[in-house]
């Protein structure tokens, strides 16, 4: 069966602007990704400039609510009416995902409830700064995030802003950059011609500086450069100050050629006949978290672009791109320079062209295919290409019934979501209220139903299921760390358990030693990470920032992390330590212990008193926005006395930070010894040795590759899928390394 996508934007496709073109592009990209796409129009069709290409696209159906009689009146569809309209369309044929654009429509649809879990909103008209995000706006976005499967973000900047502001958005934000559909042939490689043809395409509005642009022909003429300004678009901003009248008058000015509105293809063809694209805007827009599609379209047809210098544009075109402008005079200077220097013209055109190549329709379709694979249940296919991994027993014709039981599933949730998408599995949850609290009747019912039970944590849940599971069903238990020091494993009827899964070979070994369970019963599967979510560009200067995730309880050894920092700052005060963690006094069961309190009091006093540490340690908020936070971190520290796995360095590796581990017992069974050191002095030396940017970047890339190879979610999840039907080989007793002298 084909995946069905419903697409709706609070956008009138009769008018050409960036949002209308996006709606057209995303519809095409979804179709190319293999979806059957239903595009519902907001307004009655007055011009089919944007719709015609869609009608020619295989797999696209365009629904016209007014023409089809689904709605009465002249249109367009009011935002609050849209959810009901979409629900009616969805009732005809259920859709797997609903792509929406427009905050009001999205908020209304999220509240409507009919599409919860299927929404893929594309958020643009949302607050994009700290003061703009009022509590009311945050609540609305949280509602949207809760109802969404994905939040499609145009840029990494917007994704990070949303994740940092709306906890419910974390883990759901994925990138969908601007999309360039098929582009007409590019301009030839000739230098700028005479007369110089400048081109702008898009809406005419004050902050887009379109009125000021109309002065360019005269200003360039004053410099002895004959120039024309070609303006494409028909959407003119209106305000009580008479902007529309002035803009219209200016569009008729000398040297200004107004082409009116055109389809995207025609607009790009017109642009390709010009020499330089214009995307110079009011500085108010410099902080925008969105990227102008126009810049990319100009690049795609071979034009250099004059635009504002912003961090986003620098990262797109390079800090040394030659046509940045901050004022009208700068625009004139830049245009004159491009005319006078063919080398500059060519170099800047090459830069924009190279940038545009990252945003093709095919790249967008590929991206969407990846998201679809992770979000939409896999369909049964003849030929068994989605069958179990080699070595596993055959999957029965009817679906395998799986129960996952536990009180705290935060580490199992990514695996759970993965398993739920498998067509051959039916997964149910036995959510325990607390470690030892559950609904026995419900659990009994699930035990009787399940073919396989997975107990997350080896606690009372594992004890209960080992005594109540249905004969013939499989029982898997995941043991992390604390359980080994608890009385629970001794109470588990190990004969009823098929396998116990530890996250490291070291803990597998400890488990065998302390429980005496048969070797074949204990296997090792590492923790899983969403590598793609964590892999994001590092922020400027991140290589001097050490990161630590979690400092509670004291065995995490904050004091040793301070030793590392002190050592580094003796030579270079650019090094800082960022700590993302709750604080010990927020957990009374930690804080009531005098030794714990002493540990933190002493460490924090050092932070205050040490000349080298004062002002160099920052305690950031604990929270789920780890992927965004890691962008500021160049090295992730692991200074613990004891860990079963320690996810933090693995997450850091996935983010291309360099892991720096103290040699806690078993670290070498999880991480490359390259990252493991005897103690703080060696850790500091290893960090200092990567002081050059290129070395640090190379080490981060190596770490990333290792994390992707070992911990990536699909790989680990496939191992778990196999475990549902067949035992893993017991952990081969790995080599026992001498500790590297950790103190």
């Amino acid at each position: 069966m084909t995946t069905r996508a419903l697409v709706y934007g609070d956008i009138d496709l009769n008018l050409i602007d960036g949002s209308a073109i996006w709606l057209q592009s995303v519809t095409q990209a979804l179709a190319r990704a293999g979806c059957a796409v239903t595009l519902v129009l907001k307004a009655p069709v007055r011009t089919d400039r944007l719709i015609t290409p869609l009608l020619a696209e295989a797999g696209v159906t365009v629904r016209k609510p007014y023409e089809e009689g689904l709605l009465d009146g002249p249109g367009p569809v009011p935002a609050l009416t849209a959810p009901e309209l979409l629900a009616r369309v969805d009732a005809e044929t259920a859709h797997d995902l609903v792509v929406l654009r427009g905050r009001r429509v999205t908020a209304a649809t999220a509240k409507h409830g009919a599409f919860t879990g299927r929404l893929w909103p594309y958020l643009t008209d949302v607050p994009q700064s700290v003061p703009a995000l009022t509590p009311a706006a945050a609540d609305e976005l949280a509602t949207i995030a809760s109802a969404a499967r994905y939040l499609l973000c145009q840029t990494e900047e917007l994704r990070c802003f949303l994740e940092g502001s709306i906890p419910a958005a974390c883990g759901k934000c994925v990138l969908l950059p601007p999309i360039l559909a098929e582009t007409p042939p590019a301009r030839d490689a000739a230098p700028a011609r005479t007369p110089l043809r400048l081109v702008y395409s898009g809406k005419f509005a004050p902050r887009w500086n379109t009125l000021e642009m109309t002065e360019l022909p005269a200003l360039l003429a004053a410099r002895g450069i004959e120039a024309e300004l070609h303006m494409i678009g028909d959407k003119i901003h209106d305000d009580p100050g008479g902007y529309q009248q002035r803009m219209r008058a200016a569009l008729g000015g000398k040297g200004v050629i107004w082409h009116g509105g055109h389809s995207r293809e025609e607009a790009m063809r017109l642009a390709a006949s010009c020499d330089i694209g214009l995307s110079w805007r009011h500085p108010d827009l410099d902080a925008s978290l969105e990227l102008s599609t126009k810049v990319l379209e100009f690049g795609a047809v071979g034009l250099p672009v004059i635009l504002n210098r912003t961090p986003m544009h620098e990262s797109l075109l390079g800090a040394d791109y030659g046509l940045f402008a901050a004022s009208l005079t700068d625009v004139v200077d830049a245009a004159a320079a491009a005319v006078a220097d063919p080398g500059l013209y060519r170099a800047t055109a090459d830069r924009t062209a190279r940038a545009a190549r990252q945003f093709t329709l095919e790249r967008a379709a590929e991206r969407l295919r990846g998201y679809l694979a992770r979000a939409v249940p896999k369909q049964e296919r003849p030929g068994g290409e989605e069958g179990p991994p080699p070595g596993a027993s055959a999957v029965p014709a009817d679906r395998l019934r799986v129960v996952v039981a536990g009180h705290d599933l935060k580490f199992f949730t990514p695996l759970l979501e993965y398993l739920r998408l498998r067509p051959e599995l039916e997964v149910r949850l036995d959510q325990w209220a607390a470690l030892g609290q559950h609904d026995p009747a419900g659990s009994r019912e699930l035990a009787a139903w399940a073919d396989v039970v997975v107990c997350e944590w080896c606690g009372p849940n594992a004890i209960w299921y080992s005594r109540h599971k249905r004969r013939g069903s499989r029982l898997l238990v995941r043991l992390h760390r604390f359980e080994l020091d608890s009385p629970y494993p001794a109470q588990v009827r190990i004969g009823a358990v098929n396998q116990v899964i530890c996250v490291s070979r070291h803990y597998t070994r400890l488990c065998l030693e302390r429980t005496g369970w048969p070797e074949a019963k204990v296997a090792t599967v590492p923790n899983a990470l969403d590598i793609a979510q964590l892999d994001r560009p590092k922020l400027d200067g991140a290589r001097f920032h050490l990161g630590m995730i979690g400092i509670v309880p004291s065995r995490k050894r904050l004091d040793l992390a301070l030793d590392v920092l002190e050592e580094l700052r003796r030579e270079d005060e650019r090094y800082l330590l960022f700590i993302k963690s709750g604080m010990p006094w927020e957990h009374w069961w930690v804080w009531q212990h005098l030794d714990q309190r002493e540990h933190y009091t002493s460490a924090l006093r050092r932070v205050q008193r040490s000349r080298l540490l004062r002002g160099a340690v920052v305690f950031d908020d604990a929270g789920p926005d780890v992927a965004a936070w890691l962008r500021r971190v160049g090295f992730v520290l692991s200074t613990s006395d004891d860990e079963s796995f320690h996810v933090a360095p693995a997450e850091g590796m996935a983010s291309r930070a360099v892991p720096v581990l103290r040699h806690w017992p078993g670290a070498e069974t999880i991480y490359d010894r390259r990252w493991i050191h005897r103690g703080p002095a060696e850790m500091a030396a290893a960090i200092a040795a990567l002081g050059e940017a290129a070395d640090w970047r190379r080490a981060g890339d190596d770490a990333h590759a290792q994390a992707a190879a070992c911990f990536d979610l699909p790989r680990v999840a496939e191992t778990w899928r196999g475990l549902l039907t067949a035992d893993l080989d017991p952990a081969a007793p790995g080599p026992t390394f001498e500790l590297l002298g950790s103190s």
């Binding site: 009022t134 978290l289 993302k580 604990a622 996810v647």
Partner: protein, 582 residues
């Protein structure tokens, strides 16, 4: 990816809602919390409630202000006025309504921005423990660079979001308490600061507030917002120092809009760091470009620097602490930054500006570099006028005084240039002549403490009154006049320490932290006070004067400018740092 929603990011972390899992803390983990943590938590809760109340008050005030300025309110007023006085107002109504329509939605300055900020921050007050954390990690009294100013307790107390360089610049002229993101609002409350500075440069990498303006640092941005809202709720002026180009951190626009003032000129040249003390006469004149080449440099600058490749030494990135020494070690620099040029000039170097009024061609620049290389290093006669100009117009105390004025603080809080002239006169005529001479001084004194020697037959009080009247012009300029009678029976000179007796008496009566004795009958150069103050600012000495050494520390001299306490105590200079101008 692990969903780090609680303490440690670990599979084996202690779940926040389940103390039973605190396995590695032993059985006691399941007992109730003991007293101390409970008390600390309660204290913290009350403190948080107080802060929240203040922020709510700030938001209500801002909302009220916004409402009063709103079109709706104005519309209501206009209609009400029209209804009350139909004939006089009624005819104006349509025009007024049109005006209101035109003005709708237009930006209205910091009011709405503050409202939005306060509103946004209120939803983010759930964080706990900052007060306890701050008790343990407070940055302490004074910035790391403030120790050298210990002899002159600064009047101005500054806190805020500051770089280490910013602290070093401000330290000699103010008590500086840099804040950290995790406890900024709590520390700001307890620092007793006069003013809160937010440095844009502190939001760049390498600083504790790094990325607060970046969308990937929204957590720190919210902390910054809370700090600003809390400071304004406490009535503290908040100033945004925009000392990085806007395109480097465009996400900081809202900060400027939320502050009381924006300072675009930076913190000025701190002469305690950048000064010509200890220059070698034979320092090299080979041209140096201090820093690394910037990929963002304008094409013109790039072309010029490229044309000089090989003949100009480019130092690459240098730690900021090393810059003053570098500037003093070389006699010739090229730069495209006016701020950097001033620092280099203050260090006694010649500077060729690549941008600005002089439009260079590559060949003209090469020629200028060649000729400058052949010149001797600048000497005192060339350096001091430039230094004085920087002292008068671009030094940090000038910026701070302007800042104080702009935010309604008394500029006397910038204590380093608060000088009392100590003198003795015998008649109103002599006082009038003194007034004229002091008015000609390029650096006006803050205070004039004058001993009035009464003549036979005249009472002390009438004499002082007449002298004070003769000094009226100075008083009109804001100079504080203090006249005290001098007993004619007491000999003129030979007080303790060899100084005139009136010096210690007037120093005791004066209030300014610095004092300069002034012989009423003597002619002084118009730059006399400026020379002294500039030398003191550069040297951070306790006393400056003329001991035969040019711009150098000495072991003995007769102070021409010193801390007021020095003169009041009769001139005992043991253990002081002494600096000679010539």
């Amino acid at each position: 990816m692990s969903t780090v929603t609680d303490v440690t990011g670990e599979p084996d972390r202690i779940p926040a809602d389940d103390p039973g899992l605190a396995g590695d803390l032993g059985p006691a983990a399941e007992s109730e919390p003991v007293g101390d943590p409970g008390l600390a938590a309660e204290r913290d809760r009350l403190a948080r409630t107080l802060r929240e109340t203040r922020l709510q008050l700030a938001m209500t005030q801002a909302r009220l202000a916004a409402l009063e300025q709103s079109a709706t309110m104005e519309l209501g007023r206009t209609i009400a006025r029209a209804a009350q006085r139909p004939w006089s107002r009624g005819v104006q109504l349509p025009l007024k309504l049109i005006q209101l329509w035109r003005d709708r939605g237009s930006p209205a300055g910091p009011g709405p921005a503050t409202l939005a900020l306060a509103s946004a921050q209120l939803g983010d007050l759930a964080g706990a423990g900052e007060r306890f954390l701050s008790a343990l990690t407070a940055p302490g009294l004074g910035a790391p660079e403030a120790a050298s100013a210990a002899f002159t307790p600064p009047g101005l107390v500054i806190t805020g979001v500051l770089t280490a360089q910013g602290c070093a610049a401000l330290g000699p002229d103010a008590a500086v308490h840099p804040l950290l993101p995790h406890d900024a609002d709590v520390m700001m409350e307890s620092s007793g600061a006069d003013i809160v500075l937010i440095e844009a440069a502190a939001m760049l990498a390498g600083s504790a507030w790094a990325y607060a303006g970046d969308p990937a640092g929204t957590d720190r941005g919210r902390r910054l917002g809370r700090l600003i809202a809390a400071a304004r709720a406490l009535g503290k002026p908040v100033v945004f120092v925009r000392n990085v180009p806007a395109h480097v951190a465009p996400g900081l626009d809202w900060v400027g809009a939320s502050c009381d003032a924006v300072l675009d000129d930076g913190l000025g040249v701190q002469l305690a760091r950048f000064n010509p003390i200890g220059l070698a006469g034979d320092r090299p004149c080979d041209p140096v470009y201090a820093g690394q080449r910037d990929p963002r440099e304008p094409p013109g600058v790039r072309t010029l620097l490229d044309s000089l490749a090989g003949s100009v030494k480019v130092t690459g990135e240098l730690p900021w602490r090393q810059l003053p020494a570098l500037y003093r070690e070389h006699a010739l620099f090229l730069t495209a930054s006016a701020g950097q040029a001033r620092e280099q000039l203050a260090c006694g170097a010649r500077v060729i500006m690549l941008t600005g009024e002089q439009a260079w061609t590559a060949s003209a620049l090469q020629e200028r570099v060649t000729s400058a290389r052949a010149e001797r290093p600048p000497g005192e006669a060339e350096i001091l006028p430039v230094l004085h100009e920087i002292f008068a117009a671009h030094a940090t105390p000038v910026r701070l005084a302007a800042l104080a004025t702009a935010t309604g603080l008394p500029d006397r809080l910038v204590a380093g240039r608060q000088i009392a002239v100590l003198t003795c006169v015998q008649s109103p005529g002599e006082a009038a002549a003194l007034s004229a001479r002091l008015r000609r001084q390029r650096l006006a004194p803050a205070e004039l403490a004058v001993a009035v020697r009464t003549r036979d037959g005249e009472g002390a009080e009438p004499s002082c009154r007449d002298v004070t009247a003769a000094l009226g012009d100075l008083a009109d300029l804001g100079v504080l006049i203090t006249a005290i009678p001098e007993d004619p029976a007491v000999p003129d000179a030979a007080g303790s320490g060899g100084q005139d007796r009136w010096v210690s008496r007037t120093a005791t009566a004066a209030r300014s932290p610095w004092a300069a004795p002034w012989q009423a009958g003597r002619e002084y150069d118009d730059s006399y006070l400026l020379d002294l103050a500039c030398a003191r600012e550069c040297s951070q000495a306790d006393a400056v004067g003329y001991a035969g050494a040019a711009y150098a520390y000495v072991t003995s001299l007769e102070p021409a400018l010193a801390r007021r306490e020095f003169f009041a105590a009769g001139g005992s200079g043991r253990g002081l740092r002494l600096f000679s101008l010539r």
